[in-house]
């Protein structure tokens, strides 16, 4: 064994423990180390200055230990290690555990008297002797070891400072917030911290020894003693000169068995480059020692180094610091900061807030062990509870630091705080107070969920009321309308509500009326209920123009039809883009252009794609068994069948679907509200998936279905969702809110536990039968057409506020700042 540090010591121990348990000792071990003493506990190095004995227990008399002896050559042909003093040691297996050397950056003055590194007991002894008559010291490097060294200097009676080139302390373990909190602790201990500034040079005093550190910003840090702790470099020179492969940036290249490219030579510890990594923590180094011990005693061993958990927890100058999992994962963060107590905690969780990816704890690391155990696993409770060591789940499953409204940068914590402080009781009040949901509005359902949970937690009865005009939830209104056969909003609000409605309840009721089959959505009173998208059968864009999306069922389209779309877009100067749902979106149409555009499209055989409605959007498909070598069913045919069946179906929110022709899942069906994947025997049905803001994989609802079974189950699923979901609740959230979840849904849909399947089937049959193309019917009706003007008193005048510029050969909107008119009071 070449090198005698902690890793080598561990290997010797493991080898002696396992070797020859049955057959008697097998290996004769020789250890050659260059330090003057046998291996000691380097992790506790600093305590040497306090008089601690770091020596490991002696390995036993049968281990041949040579200290202060350096191996300078490996004679691989002869299988001998040659030392500086000319001694030769034969081997059957050689283990390199040469460790690392401190990295000293090439800074002017690095070789001045008074400059030290911090690695061995000898280094510390020399440093202590030198410090005896000095007043100030500085450590270059604010990592784990650097902070230890700074504490050591302080212990030696020096005014000490830490210089870290990175913007914060412990940059390899902590995020910025954690580093900042740690800095406060360290400064409170009377140390100066200089972070984020490179070092220009070390400057000597009159005596020729180092006296200060000069930073690039001109600042001078007094330091009669300087310790470099700026990282490590693997000691691979022996391997290099022996012709073994080493990494580009250092480290002896080994496989997962810790073997070099010479099968008789292993490398472990800080000198080894394993899986592309050099590990500087003792844990992984010990793991490597264990692997080699196993391999040596058992030729059939498959022991392998599987990578290491780099989690660390330590007490630095009395401050708990911990980092676990991947503290830099690009993920949702839950942050808790208590500046008074000096506590900073941050958890990183997967986008669905269910899986713990990593985190950082400073000032209070009590939860470390629990948290570390859950890295990569499903959290047993809410992340914010986990931060405090608790696991009992309660309402409000969104982490405190989660940005709920990314438009206005409002976090769940902000919202909860305002709900409590300002006694907010409804979504409108929360929006007004926090600004969450006031821009794009996509987070409003989440805001409501937070509000409900917060109010429930405070023991305040949660109103299920849709808005101030109705004391009922959407599902309750649905039942009222269905059972009492109400067909107008006026009657509904007169008999069951108050006031005149609003932009929440009107479109909701419009959707319910449409779901229950009440004719064209622009007929009679219903016209006044629709939001602008449904009102103009198009999607409003940011400059007040609309986009047009013709239906392309299953994403299948003939060249002739493609040409028509191209011609229409060209003739009306529209911006065109392929959508994620396998169709084509045409942007930039003014209100008065919509009928002309649609006339052309309808004449060519297109129909409304309902991109504007809370309704079925597309059923995406892969090319399926017709063309694909791997397809097992006709996915395109099924997608078209489904899209034509459910087109125009109004729902609490938009609905998306996809059909994949085989298990390769090219259509991404598992991210859809209802997704279908072909099997050899039929179809697998997946329900309640979602992409978008809160991705959710769909649940496998039933397998190997026939075409008929598939349609029946989807019919019931959709109708049950339409009947019972909240306003703007996607199927994913709805599924999660169903008590009993997927199993309950199977009971309702397959076993007819509620006895409503016949009703659901009839409702869907009515929908399929009564479907008509909204655009064709609109074009045929002068009354419906009357609304398609920009100005009621100048029907032919285009809106002068709408203008475009050209980008990448297509139009894009120019937003003209509006005139600032004075407000005239009446």
């Amino acid at each position: 064994m070449v090198g005698y540090g902690p890793a080598a010591h561990r290997l010797v121990e493991a080898l002696r423990e396992r070797d020859g348990a049955a057959t008697g000792p097998h290996w004769k071990i020789t250890v050659i180390g260059e330090e003057t003493r046998p291996a000691y506990d380097r992790v506790a190095l600093t305590t040497h200055l306090e008089g601690a004995d770091l020596a490991y227990p002696s390995p036993g008399a049968d281990v041949d230990v040579h200290c202060a002896e350096r191996v300078v050559e490996i004679d691989r042909a002869a299988r001998e290690a040659v030392t500086a003093s000319g001694r030769r040691f034969g081997y059957d297996a050689l283990v390199l555990a040469t460790g690392s050397s401190p990295f000293v950056p090439p800074i002017e003055g690095k070789d001045l008297p008074g400059v030290f590194v911090y690695r061995t007991i000898d280094d510390l002894d020399a440093m202590r002797d030198y410090a005896a008559d000095k007043a100030s010291g500085a450590v270059i490097g604010g990592g784990l070891l650097g902070l230890e060294a700074a504490r050591a200097l302080q212990g030696l009676g020096l005014d000490s400072g830490v210089v870290e080139v990175a913007p914060w302390l412990m940059p390899r373990q902590l995020d910025e917030g954690g580093g900042a909190m740690l800095r406060r602790h360290i400064e409170n201990l009377g140390m100066d911290v200089h972070a984020g500034t490179p070092i220009t040079r070390l400057e000597a005093g009159p005596d020729g020894a180092v006296s200060k550190v000069v930073l690039q910003d001109g600042k001078e840090v007094p330091a009669e003693l300087v310790v470099f702790s700026a990282g490590i470099r693997p000691r691979d020179e022996l391997a290099r000169s022996s012709g073994l492969t080493v990494g580009e940036r250092g480290g002896i290249t080994v496989d997962s068995a810790c073997r070099t490219d010479d099968p008789a030579i292993y490398a472990i510890g800080e000198c080894a480059l394993i899986g592309g990594m050099v590990y500087g923590l003792v844990g992984p180094c010990f793991s490597m020692a264990e692997v080699v011990a196993d391999r040596l005693v058992n030729p059939d061993s498959t022991a392998a180094f599987e990578g290491a958990d780099l989690s660390t927890k330590l007490k630095l100058m009395g401050v708990d610091v911990a980092s676990f999992g991947d503290p830099f994962a690009d993920a949702l963060g839950v942050t808790y900061t208590d500046p008074v107590a000096g506590v900073y905690k941050r958890l990183l969780v997967s986008d669905d807030a269910k899986t713990l990816l990593g985190g950082v704890l400073v000032g209070d690391a009590e939860a470390y062990s629990t948290l570390r155990a859950y890295v990569g696993a499903s959290l047993p409770g809410e992340p914010e509870q986990m931060l405090f060591g608790g696991t009992e789940a309660a309402g409000g499953d969104l982490p405190e630091g989660t940005v709920i409204c990314s438009c206005n940068n409002v976090t769940a914590g902000d919202i909860r705080c305002d709900i409590r402080d300002h006694e907010l009781r409804d979504v409108a009040a929360v929006k007004s107070c926090t600004r969450a949901g006031t821009s794009c509005g996509s987070c409003v359902p989440l805001v409501k969920k937070l509000l409900d949970a917060e109010l429930a937690a405070a023991g305040i009865e949660v109103s299920r009321a849709l808005c101030e005009h109705f004391a009922y939830s959407r599902a309750e209104l649905f039942d009222i309308i269905r059972v009492r056969q109400i067909s107008t909003f006026s009657r509904l609000i007169a008999e069951h509500g108050t006031g005149r409605g609003c932009d929440i309840c009107k479109p909701t009721v419009a959707s319910i009326l449409a779901s229950l089959g009440n004719g064209h959505i622009l007929d009679g009173e219903q016209a006044a209920l629709q939001d602008t998208n449904d009102h103009f059968l198009a999607n409003m864009q940011k400059n007040g123009t609309y986009s047009v999306v013709p239906r392309i069922p299953g994403g299948e389209i003939t060249p002739d039809k493609l040409i028509v779309i191209g011609e229409v877009a060209r003739d009306f100067g529209l911006y065109t883009k392929i959508t994620g749902g396998q169709r084509i979106d045409l942007f930039g149409a003014r209100v008065e252009q919509l009928p002309k555009i649609w006339k052309r499209l309808v004449d060519a055989g297109f129909e409304s794609g309902h991109a504007y409605g809370k309704s079925l959007r597309t059923v995406k498909s892969c090319v399926g068994s017709t063309w694909c070598r791997y397809g097992v069913q006709d996915s395109v045919g099924m997608a078209i069948k489904l899209e034509l069946r459910y087109r125009g179906l109004r729902a609490p929110h938009k609905l998306k679907s996809a059909v994949s022709g085989c298990a390769r899942e090219c259509a991404e069906a598992q991210s859809k509200d209802f997704g279908i994947i072909a099997t050899e025997k039929g179809w697998n049905l997946y329900l309640s998936g979602n992409g978008g803001m809160r991705p959710r994989h769909a649940d496998l609802f039933a397998s190997d279905l026939t075409d008929e079974q598939l349609l029946t189950y989807i019919d019931r699923f959709l109708m049950f969702y339409i009947r019972t979901a909240d306003r703007l609740q996607r199927t994913s959230v709805w599924m999660e809110s169903l008590e009993g979840g997927l199993d309950y849904l199977r009971e309702v849909i397959i076993d007819d536990r509620l006895g409503i399947c016949a009703e659901l089937d009839a409702a869907m049959a009515r929908h399929v039968e009564s479907y008509g193309d909204e655009w064709r019917e609109t074009l045929e009706d002068p009354e419906r057409m009357a609304r398609f003007v920009s100005f009621v008193n100048a029907p032919e005048t285009p809106d002068p506020s709408i203008s475009f510029e050209v980008e990448r050969d297509q139009i894009k909107p120019v937003l003209v700042a509006g005139p600032h008119l004075e407000v005239i009071s009446q």
């Binding site: 409108a428 005009h469 006026s490 005149r500 609003c502 016209a527 939001d531 409003m540 506020s801």
Partner: protein
């Protein structure tokens, strides 16, 4: 541009062009005026300009009431405006101009 009080009423359209509980937009001397007709037959006129999106779209909003006050919600980002004052109920610091409006026979007239 500054709104100036014009002494004359400008004819816009007949009442039946405005669906109850909806709005239309009129171009009056270069100014876009959103005109609303509520269920009770009242008429209101606001600037068509939505100060939150800078788009001219208020006439396409949904009418309703909040605490008894007749309102329109911007179709863009859903801020709610008081039809009688032009004040935004979700952001009291923001208002839109309002205009005088009347019914003359079956004709709707505004003054900008």
């Amino acid at each position: 541009m500054t709104a100036t009080a014009v002494s004359t009423w400008i004819d816009v359209c007949s009442l039946d062009r405005i669906t109850p509980e909806r709005g239309v937009c009129a171009l009056v001397g270069g100014v876009q005026v959103a005109i609303f007709r509520t269920f009770d037959g009242e008429l209101y006129a606001l600037s068509n300009h939505d100060p939150f999106s800078n788009a001219y779209v208020l006439s396409r909003g949904i009418l309703g009431s909040r605490g008894g006050v007749p309102t329109v919600a911007s179709p863009m980002y859903k801020q709610v405006f008081d039809l009688t004052t032009g004040r935004c109920l979700d952001d009291p610091d923001t208002s839109v101009p309002i205009f005088s409006i009347r019914l003359n026979g079956d004709r709707v007239e505004v003054m900008t």
